[in-house]
Subunit: 372 residues, 2 copies
């Protein structure tokens, strides 16, 4: 293997594929990036942690075909710190790799390419979806934070991607809150997949770094999906199992409805949570009375009362929350006003836009002592 | 105590004085900030960790004189997160403190002001120096990193500030390298003080945040110094003991002199140190031969050779360094070219500007095995 390429394009490609390299693996070859130079003048870079694999092609000057695995961190650090000029990369004996510019010469230890896991293609004719980049990014951002971060919890570490004839939905939940994002989209077939939230977050970074506007392509099979973002191919293992029937959980009848400014509510709750450290519960109390929303909280260090004018229909109510869950929701959306709907002080609160249903959040309340 | 003030000016003042609050103290009152409202319309904020005390005055509307201590972190967090409007602050019974705006109302637990340590003034007529802000900041930046961070090492955790009739020198060293910065300055008397490097770094932050150009004032006594930065008064405890006679260490005769580009040398050494992890020593070897400076390094992961064209007078030389010490020096200065002077492979290297002596750095070499 022998090729020359520009420092900038190689460094950028390494930044993308290294997102699939995990430092926590015990399998040495998975700390590496596979470099494959082909006679058609392309270098294919691949990395995989078995759940997530990323492959990217760049144009290089190939003098000699071949492939080798280099340590991701060391190789990326070297390439990033080289000046922006042409780099020669050449396989030497014993899997050594020479990296050479006008004034620098590195020889680093590589690994044989044949040990690298095969990033296999999907079989047959997979179903393909097109997704606008901005819509995809926004839906992931609105939902992935609500997935469980506890790996022992099974499928709820994932985000449900539900394709229906006229809409696409993303859903995540962790037992304390649920996030639903919806966008209109025409699809020939209905289908459901579940993808680990942390993988979706990595994909979102790659989508954010993409250079052009336009769509990403998602190809689905039974256990895998392939996502194409420009010249980057991402292969992900889907989570298996039945996702919670989330539509049954969303309350349709609510006694109390509150319309409130999102930014002012977010700031008030952030201030109130400065004194909401009791038992790590971040407990705040919302008192909905007439046209005033009052947020109170207290700890050994003091107490706080925040007042916000709002529009209300229905009954007055007192309800407690873990402030973190409310803050997460108010940060994930950008609407000027939001609608909060309540039934009782022990049933979940629903947060949604004034018009439509592009998002719906459910937040479980925390029981508050009668003397709080 | 009762006063109203603007959120912005209070938040800014808290940001300054809280630099003297240490979270690691076991004395509860030192986690606090003393607020003192006077009938002349000033609020004085004070904080101290006994080694460093900071006092700042701001204009407020005082309705009732008085003073109280509030917890630095909680009070600063609350004030920072309040909207930019007028804030009422009032002492209530049992040392409670009310913080009130149009829509927020906090009551936090305070501490009695009489427990707060007295930030005493200097006695008599202390000697006063004026220091241009930019020069002060630059000299601290050029030297403080070289002081020892090992608190058990005594006076070398400090930076020597040496006032001579025509120059001021700052000097720091840690046994492996030494940094000297010099600037012309007329002074009536010669004097020397030693200030802990970490205190100088905090002072540099305050100087950086100052709003106007101009001078800072330094007033010296035997064991203390007072530094005035605009309306901020900083009182520091000086380190006691004799600083190392640093002038005797600087070599005056050097066999080999190398003139080299600072940025290109810095980048080469940063790249070479990617492979310089052997025994945590960051070992790199510099080979000075004819007009080529070659930097080599190696580890189990591979090896590297960097070449830089330079101008040399004197003998060829091979010498080993801990790359961190060379990188620190090359980052601290901004000259386009620097002069490196060497005697043998076991004596310190001197780094200085091409012309003049506004800085001088000594770096101890590391012995390299003959087969390296």
């Amino acid at each position: 293997m022998k090729f020359t390429c520009s420092q900038q394009s190689l460094s950028k490609a390494l930044n993308t594929v290294s997102k699939a390299v995990t430092s926590r693996t015990t399998i040495p070859i998975l700390k590496g990036i596979l470099l494959k130079a082909s006679s058609d003048g392309t270098l294919t870079l691949s990395a995989s942690d078995l759940d997530l694999s990323i492959e990217k092609k760049i144009d290089v000057n190939v003098e000699e075909e071949g492939s080798i695995v280099v340590l991701s961190k060391l190789f990326s650090d070297i390439i990033r710190k080289l000046p922006n000029e042409d780099i020669l990369i050449e396989e030497k004996e014993s899997n050594n790799v020479l990296i050479k510019t006008a004034s620098s010469e590195f020889t680093i230890v590589g690994l044989a390419a044949d040990e690298f896991p095969n990033i296999s293609e999907l079989e047959g004719q997979p179903e393909t979806l097109s997704f606008d980049k901005e819509i995809f990014k926004d839906m992931v951002r609105k939902t992935s934070f609500a997935a469980s971060i506890d790996e022992s919890k099974g499928i709820i570490v994932g985000v449900l991607l539900e394709i229906e004839p006229d809409t696409v939905n993303m859903v995540a939940l962790d037992g304390f809150r649920m996030a639903v994002a919806r966008e209109p989209m025409k699809s020939a077939e209905s289908t459901k997949i579940v993808v680990a939230a942390k993988i979706l977050n990595e994909i979102n970074k790659i989508v954010s770094e993409a250079e052009d506007e336009g769509d990403i392509q998602i190809m689905l099979s039974n256990k895998k999906a392939v996502i194409l973002v420009e010249t980057t191919k991402i292969v992900i293992r889907l989570l298996e199992g039945e996702f919670i029937k989330y539509k049954d959980i969303i309350p349709t009848q609510n006694q109390t409805k509150v319309e409130v400014g999102r930014a002012v509510l977010l700031e008030s709750i952030e201030r109130a949570s400065l004194l909401a450290k009791e038992g790590k519960n971040n407990l705040i109390k919302l008192t909905i009375k007439n046209n005033l929303l009052t947020i109170t909280s207290r700890s050994e260090e003091g107490n706080v009362k925040e007042e916000i004018v709002m529009e209300k229909t229905g009954e007055d109510l007192e309800i407690g929350f873990n402030s973190k869950y409310v803050i997460d929701v108010l940060k994930a959306v950008s609407d000027e006003q939001v609608l909060m709907e309540f039934n009782t002080s022990t049933t979940p609160c629903l947060v949604k836009p004034l018009i439509g249903n592009t998002f719906e959040y459910l937040i479980l309340p925390v029981r508050i002592a009668s003397n709080y």
